[in-house]
């Protein structure tokens, strides 16, 4: 079966495991002919899946809460990848930002309405920082690393998996990272499908998840090989960066005591709660609306 | 199109239906606005089919305005106009016009400009081309057929416009100083050529000119207009024999008429 799979944003090292699954024929073994498409952000990827332009996709759980609650988009999670919050704030090491508390009185740059910014109050409260003492400015994603490197801003919002690329730009200076996962527990990105696909074609979804998880395990076992495979398919991606990002994906994905990819209803509920508290949600969303169990074996 | 083509109408109507009939016509530009110009009239005028009417009158008296009304390009502010007995409510394909500002398309060659009526009226191409070449030859533009109009002198442009007006052999000729930019010799040649064509083919012509001799030489009647707002001050019959030629101007009767008209023009105080 032909499957269009859409990423959350672009083609990055953090997507290496999909290419591992593709390269090693795991999809083919399941009878799937997978095309990996480039996404334009989680909200867009969710809509692309909902509209049928893509069969399956990779998107942020928080965005999915908003999509269901605000626009009523009929899409659910079928497997989780970032089982912990991927959001983080980065600053240059050696400056006066050493702990989260030092962010008070500073300016952080991020893309407009990124979850980094919107969920910062939750993180701040959890680590005892006054979110009102932190100011945010908006910049394009492409410019963020440079802004940090040139000192235009003191910190930027970024996914933890973005660190290798960021480090390459700020080198030789090193980075300090404040990951939200150190203080909060909600879901980040996972694999999504429409209610209709889940109901009508569960085997396809299962097969895709199965093959992807296989690729993921391989990638986590040998990040360097995963990086090399990724670079083979996407020449612009530096294999070393992809290797680094894969390692960081593993950090987010591997939760002790839980199978890789499995969705925990409690964390789903917590995710909804965090979103509802920090963003504008028009209608309440129930955890059952957000994920479909049984696709991770 | 409600109005019938005059050529056809001419056959149906009593032969006496005038080619152009003007009754109580006035033209005011910018009516009701400040700076409005009462350009013309009231005018009454009847042009018999097959006749040649010359119009002379002071600059700005409304001659071109009258011609545009007769062409159906403008509507009168008041009064009625007929063409071959039918209400005149727009242009007719049976009319050939030379505009005072000889309008030529800069993107076309001289020949293509002259051929325009054939194009628009859908005349047979080969015939029309032959006629165009004939007319260009007649007017001394043979060598410039494939030049662009920008390369012509003022008088040559005017001649090209004249050729264009004649191309489709129209029933009615409306000529606004068609020879104004020509030297005396060329002017005489071409005006006699026009006279010949007109007589041979039995067309109707309205000629605006500032040359009194030309008006007499060509016309059955000479209309003398008053200064703006233009009215017909005098309508002088030209009872000279036809065909006219270079010798006509030497006739005593010609000189008499000329003198009468000069009198009228140069002593405008005298009412008619």
């Amino acid at each position: 079966a032909e499957v269009n799979f859409i990423t959350d944003f672009g083609f990055n090292g953090r997507h290496a495991y999909y290419y591992v699954a593709l390269d090693k024929g795991y999809y083919k073994d399941e009878g799937l002919d997978v095309t990996i498409l480039r996404g334009q952000g989680s909200a867009d990827a969710i809509k692309k899946v909902a509209s049928g332009a893509a069969t399956l996709g990779f998107a942020d759980a928080g965005s999915l809460v908003l999509a269901r609650g605000n626009d009523g988009v009929p899409v659910k999670l079928v497997a989780i990848v970032y089982a912990q919050p991927p959001q983080a704030v980065f600053a240059l090491a050696g400056g006066d930002i050493k702990s989260p508390k030092d962010l008070e009185g500073k300016t952080i740059a991020d893309t407009a309405f990124s979850a980094n910014r919107l969920l910062f109050p939750a993180y701040a409260k959890a680590v005892g920082v006054d979110p009102d003492k932190v100011s945010w400015v908006t910049a394009d994603g492409a410019a963020l690393p440079t802004m940090l490197a040139t000192g235009r801003v003191e910190a930027i919002g970024q996914f933890t998996v973005g660190e290798p690329l960021l480090a390459a730009v700020t080198a030789p200076k090193t980075l300090v990272r404040f990951g939200y996962k150190d203080a909060l527990s909600y879901y980040g990105n996972g694999i999504i499908a429409t209610d209709a696909t889940i109901a009508e074609n569960p085997d396809l979804v299962k097969a895709f998840v199965r093959a992807t998880l296989k690729g993921m395990r391989d990638a986590f076992a040998d990040p360097a090989a995963a990086g090399a495979i990724m670079a083979k398919y996407q020449k612009q991606v530096d294999p070393a960066v992809a290797e680094g990002e894969t390692k960081l994906v593993a950090e987010l994905a591997e939760v002790p005591g839980r199978p890789l990819g499995a969705i925990d209803p409690e964390r789903v509920a917590n995710t909804i709660k965090v979103v509802a508290e920090n963003m504008k949600l028009n209608a309440a969303v129930a955890p059952e609306d957000l994920y479909a169990p049984g696709f991770v074996e | 199109m409600a109005a019938e083509e005059p050529a056809a109408a001419a056959f149906r109507k009593p032969v006496s239906a005038p080619a152009i009939e003007v009754a109580g016509v006035t033209k005011v530009f910018g009516e009701g606005k400040p700076g409005a110009v009462h350009a013309l009239g009231p005018i009454d005028l009847s042009i018999a089919p097959g006749s040649f009417v010359s119009v002379v009158g002071p600059s700005g008296c409304g001659k071109s305005t009258l011609l545009r009304l007769a062409a159906g390009l403008d509507r009168p502010s008041a009064g009625r106009m007929n063409r071959y007995g039918e209400p005149l409510d727009g242009p007719s394909r049976q009319t050939g016009i030379v505009f005072q500002e000889h309008v030529l398309f800069p993107w076309a060659t001289v020949l293509q400009n002259v051929m325009l009526p054939a194009d628009v009226l859908g005349l047979p191409k080969a015939e029309a081309t032959a006629r165009a070449h004939h007319l260009l030859e007649l007017t001394g533009l043979k060598d410039f057929a494939h030049h662009s109009p920008q390369m012509l002198s003022g008088g040559m442009k005017q001649r090209a416009a004249f050729c264009r007006a004649l191309l489709a052999d129209p029933q009615l000729l409306l000529l606004d100083e068609p020879f104004g930019a020509l030297d005396a010799l060329t002017r005489e040649e071409l005006s006699l050529e026009l006279s010949r064509i007109w007589q041979e083919l039995g067309r109707t012509a309205l000629l605006i000119t500032h040359d009194i001799e030309e008006a007499i030489l060509l016309g059955d009647r000479v209309l003398i207009m008053s200064p703006r707002p233009g009215r017909i001050r005098a309508d002088i019959a030209v009872d000279l024999p036809r065909p006219r030629n270079v010798g006509t101007a030497a006739l005593p009767r010609f000189q008499e008429i000329k003198q009468a008209i000069r009198e009228l023009i140069f002593n405008p105080g005298r009412p008619e």
Binding site: G41, A43, D44, I46, K47, A50, S51, S63, L66, A67, G69, N70, D71, G72, V73, P74, A112, F113, S114, V137, T138, A139, D140, G141, A142, A143, T146, M147, T150, R152, M279, K280, N282 | -
Partner: protein, 256 residues
């Protein structure tokens, strides 16, 4: 004046045709969305958009003002920049050969790609957005005005030359009035691109404005609000366009 203006139906009806056509489009859209049950995230119904607009009225109003200010200011800067450049280009062959290709190059650079860099260079201020508006909309003005300066009939140039008029005088008395119709055509094209430029700028580097609002509502799956913002941008653009056309009709009276 259109060609068909000669055959005119009732003036009142004609006046109403434009608003009526908009109303008709909105009605058809509403009906289609309801009939085919198009989901809101794919294409929200006009009623849903209106609902979102009324819920977000204050935000929409303030952000509209922000975008409007950027658009108009950027457009005016583009005007102020492109007129002297057009004069220089029409005036001097070397300037034409040196400047025109560079300006053409500037126009040709995809601004969407350049925008992040501009933010980087100019920092957090109004300026990146205004620079983007200027870059997006100066070119139509420039090209049209240059064409207008060159549309001057040779006979009129001869007249000025016969008086030994300086190039400055020829510009003031001949080229500038002759170029007015072209100038307005350029402005009408440019103003619509100026609005688009402002949105691009706001996408990349803004804390406010309708572009920012679109980004926010898209990322939070508030599709009807995004459409409300898009509708406001469209209206803004149309109003600015017809504003320029009005100005044109007052100034260019001779071409009719």
């Amino acid at each position: 004046m259109t060609i068909a203006a000669v055959a005119r139906p009732g003036t009142a009806l004609r006046r109403l045709l434009t608003p009526l056509s908009y109303v008709a489009i909105v009605l058809v859209w509403e009906a289609a969305v309801r009939a085919f049950e198009v989901p809101a995230w794919l294409l929200p119904a006009p009623s849903a958009i209106a609902g979102a607009a009324s819920d977000w009225l204050p935000e929409l109003a303030t952000n509209t003002l922000v975008t409007l200010r950027e658009t108009v200011f950027g457009f005016l800067v583009a005007l102020a920049a492109s007129l002297p450049l057009a004069i220089l280009i029409a005036f001097s062959e070397p300037a034409r050969r040196l400047l025109y290709p560079i300006l053409l190059g500037l126009q040709s650079i995809p601004k969407v790609a350049l925008a992040p860099l501009i933010t980087l260079w100019l920092g957090f201020s109004e300026w990146p957005k205004i620079v983007i508006v200027v870059l997006v909309c100066f070119f139509p003005i420039l090209v049209n005005v240059v064409a207008g300066f060159e549309s001057v009939p040779k006979t009129m140039l001869d007249l000025m030359h016969s008086l030994k008029a300086s190039e400055t005088m020829i510009f003031r008395r001949l080229r500038i009035p002759a170029a007015m119709p072209h100038f307005f055509t350029g402005c009408k094209v440019a103003i619509t691109f100026a609005v688009i430029g402002a949105v691009i700028g706001e996408f990349v580097a803004a804390q406010s404005g309708l572009g920012y609002l679109i980004l926010m509502s898209t990322s939070q799956s508030q599709t009807p609000l995004a459409f409300a913002a898009i509708a406001l941008l469209t209206i803004m653009s149309i109003v600015l366009f017809y504003g320029i056309e009005l100005l044109e009709r007052r100034i260019v009276r001779w071409s009719h």
